[in-house]
Point group: C2
Chain length 225, copies 2
Amino acid sequence: MSTKQFCYRHPHPAVSTDIVLFTLRAEKLQLLLIRRRNPPFQGGWALPGGFLDMDEDLADCAKRELEEETGIKNVYLEQLYTFGKPGRDPRERVISVAHYALIASDRITLKPASDATEAAWFAFDELPELAFDHREIVEKAHERLVAKLDYSTIAFQFMPKQFTLSELQNVYETIRAEALDKRNFRKWILARNLVEATGLERRNGSHRPAQLFHFKRPGRVEIIR
Amino acid sequence: MSTKQFCYRHPHPAVSTDIVLFTLRAEKLQLLLIRRRNPPFQGGWALPGGFLDMDEDLADCAKRELEEETGIKNVYLEQLYTFGKPGRDPRERVISVAHYALIASDRITLKPASDATEAAWFAFDELPELAFDHREIVEKAHERLVAKLDYSTIAFQFMPKQFTLSELQNVYETIRAEALDKRNFRKWILARNLVEATGLERRNGSHRPAQLFHFKRPGRVEIIR
DNA sequence: CTATTTAGTGTAGTTGAGACACTAACAATA
DNA sequence: TATTGTTAGTGTCTCAACTACACTAAATAG
């Protein structure tokens, strides 16, 4: 390890990003945690994230850390809030620009745990103790996710390319933790002109097959209402 | 000036806050700018702000800088977004945690320009060239302000303790840049149970006096709808 | 006392959300 | 091949909220 030092005329805090990566698995809202290999909080669970490189943008840092620690890339990612209370990291002053990210449930396989990282999915309502102020970050990310469900197309980021309306309804129900009326949900989503029948159907089980739909403008998260 | 150096094993960016302070003056949305005394952008206009002290919280830094540069304190202040593109400051890598703030029009007198700072109010739609990426920060703050008008009580932060409903309507009209129907506006605001008549009236001009109202829960910004 | 100016008020029509129950289509199996 | 179980798919009525819209009330100035 180099002994090179980086010196400034005024004190500088460290800057990092942390990422709350949500998905839906097994009809539950889940998020990704990393087991810490080093102190502080060694052996404990924490959000993926890490320190900013001097030539990279904040969002790029978040994406890089996520890929390094889990192998996952090409997620929807948005800046959430910046956490910087003095003392939130016992080592030195760290300003963390928190992001949240969403990934479709058909893309959540993690790379095998390397010596450096062990990552795992946890149900949002059964999280272990988290390192640093990561609990607070998770709460804020969840608030934002729930709020955005209502006025944006963010829910589609959880869906595979093709999906049934029942599956889509399930996403809304799971995140909002409440049951929705099937007819009203379908009326609502169709009135917004966001999805389109593909003409294909999905048969799975001994019952009537469902039409498959796809999102008309994939990749984009739009404000609706 | 001390020659003391602050050294780290990894490079650290500088962290600053910038503040977009809005008010309403002369029926216009205005914001506060500071004339820069030093390079870069010497002599140009910029948002108030400055570097984070190592023992202060981000919001405290924003409040301190605002007070140092303008004498204004006790404003409503909220974190906006963090800007950190490499190269946004030509001197060194600077991560700026932008905030926006609102102040009532009866509290906007600035302290006299000292040798260190010259501050002035500008109409939002007639801004001069701004230093750094401050234009982008201002745009984002404006977006947030317009959005929050609809679903929070943020507009009251612009009002003096007592105000007429016409004055309140004016705030909404100015920020949204559109005329509102008087009867519908009054119905809407009264239905939300946010204001209360004080029993006093304001006479100003040769016409019927208006009732004075006050906000029931001053200081708090609440989510409504 | 007349003119001017802003404050203050109600109703009808439309639109969107919520509550609510049955038929359609398939697969498994009896 | 008839029956059963399971999920897909559909329409109407009610109620609340928003919109459009025009006149009277109360003050001051001249």
